[in-house]
Symmetry: C2
Subunit: 344 residues, 2 copies
Amino acid sequence: ALWLASSALQAEASPPKPHPTPSTPPSTAKPASPTTPPRIRDRMFQLVREAQSHICAEIEAIDGGKFREDTWERPEGGGGWSRVLQGGNVFEKAGVNVSLVYGMLPPAAAKMMNARGKNLDTTKSLPFCAVGISIVMHPSNPHAPTIHCNYRYFEIIDEKTNEPVDWWFGGGTDLTPSYVYPEDAILFHQTYKDVCDKYDASFYPEFKKWCDEYFFIKHRKESRGIGGIFYDDLNAQTPEFYLNFSRDCAFALPKVYVEILKRRINQPFTQQEKEWQQLRRGRYVEFNLVYDRGTKFGLETNGRIESILMSLPLTARWEYDQHPLPNSPEAESLKIFQTPREWA
Amino acid sequence: ALWLASSALQAEASPPKPHPTPSTPPSTAKPASPTTPPRIRDRMFQLVREAQSHICAEIEAIDGGKFREDTWERPEGGGGWSRVLQGGNVFEKAGVNVSLVYGMLPPAAAKMMNARGKNLDTTKSLPFCAVGISIVMHPSNPHAPTIHCNYRYFEIIDEKTNEPVDWWFGGGTDLTPSYVYPEDAILFHQTYKDVCDKYDASFYPEFKKWCDEYFFIKHRKESRGIGGIFYDDLNAQTPEFYLNFSRDCAFALPKVYVEILKRRINQPFTQQEKEWQQLRRGRYVEFNLVYDRGTKFGLETNGRIESILMSLPLTARWEYDQHPLPNSPEAESLKIFQTPREWA
């Protein structure tokens, strides 16, 4: 009986039932007893919902607009809580999504995971649960960067005991400016280096490199932005260790991002600068649709399409064979995207 | 010795050599003797170059602008002739690309082909040659449709004899309006039905269905446009049969498209109609980057990125959870994208 006996889920926010035959937990599921410690999946869920509320509040404070929440249910199990602010004062589009999906992992998704080193049985569907928060925020001002983060917990579940037989944490936060301001890049990277260093001195150098590799747009031979940290498949320490690490990473986001926004959102800009931003947003779309693991996972596991593609910018542009003028600010930024630097 | 002993290539348009060590034909290659009939690959090349010139001339006549040609060389063999008209009077962006690429087929590409029914050896790289024309034209006016076509010839080559050991033709033309005008849809489909019927009465019904299936955006549960014809892996008849069919299809394009453009390009439009067009262009981007076979093939075989992504519109838009008003023209068009119709 695969059921997320989740007090958090039950108490806090059961998604509405838009489907005529909603997937209800099987009747054989045992609710968690009050003396049983909460499962990691429940604690992660609590964590990402708290982070969602905190981050939305901070972003509303600087934007002046309000997030709207849509909840959705996945027919095969689980669902999500999508919060989107569109057409705000600072943001063209900002999304803060929490999802908790469970059910049987399609062999195609297991194969993708094995391709990066997992050893999952791909001859049958495996019971799984994934809990995570995903954030993408696209400000209007071309001098203000887009930010993205994702913090997630994944487990393969034993159908009999409802306990994880395999689990790992993944996550990361990265910044995508159209115009690179070195002082912003330094502040951003230093912030995440500080968080990493609290946990393991090897984390930042390793996760920074991983991020540069992950967000590299192979067909363009350039990165989509200035990176940050990225990691996946972490399970060498206790789950508690990674829960704390995830929390610190997620809560660092509004702090550093609001500071950078304050520097940039009132900066005047030209039509030409707006067009450069639009071209860079085209690159963002290319990365997300061609390479992004989360997008592919969402499309393959039948997630809610509007929540998955919430990451796409409001507008984007593709000019044929466009090259910035030599020594222009656009060319300088492009150089940085082509050769990632050390910032912290 | 794998060399396209192509009189067409040699005589007409050898691409410039932007690379410091251009790939030159191996010295063991035997030039075609004057008494040898030209190879299919050479005849297809001639055909697509002629179609390119003809189509560009027809489009320049209605637009008033001029195509610019960029030639490119593929380091591993072959290259292309990309013609693009950007910022014209009628077109935001129109591209007419010819490419002739050859070399060793990456096992990943062979696997993609096997996935659709081929039986290629994926344990080693295979010598191949691909010749084709690709067209995508995005007009400014939201009442005027985008058109796309691709006609291609593919062969796997015996390294010793330089003769094909396997070959097939693929192609198709499809129309993507933002607002569906039934009279345009009928004219478009009838034109291609007429071409198909000249060759085989089973072609149009089969290729129309194939087109609807191919251009279906699974994650949206809608088609990107109103279809047309699509086919692949044809080799039951002689190569000559398919050469003639490809030629008739390619030359039908400017005739029917210019007729439709004349009906639409002077129609007034509102800002709201322009935004609907932009949203539909977002769908176009989603299809091309997530599903399109030609785009994937280009990215995997190291084609010129600006030529591959020439298909993307100048601008596109993604609004969160946007739904047209009931009974609006947008809703009527969307209904047609969701349930493909018979038009001819």
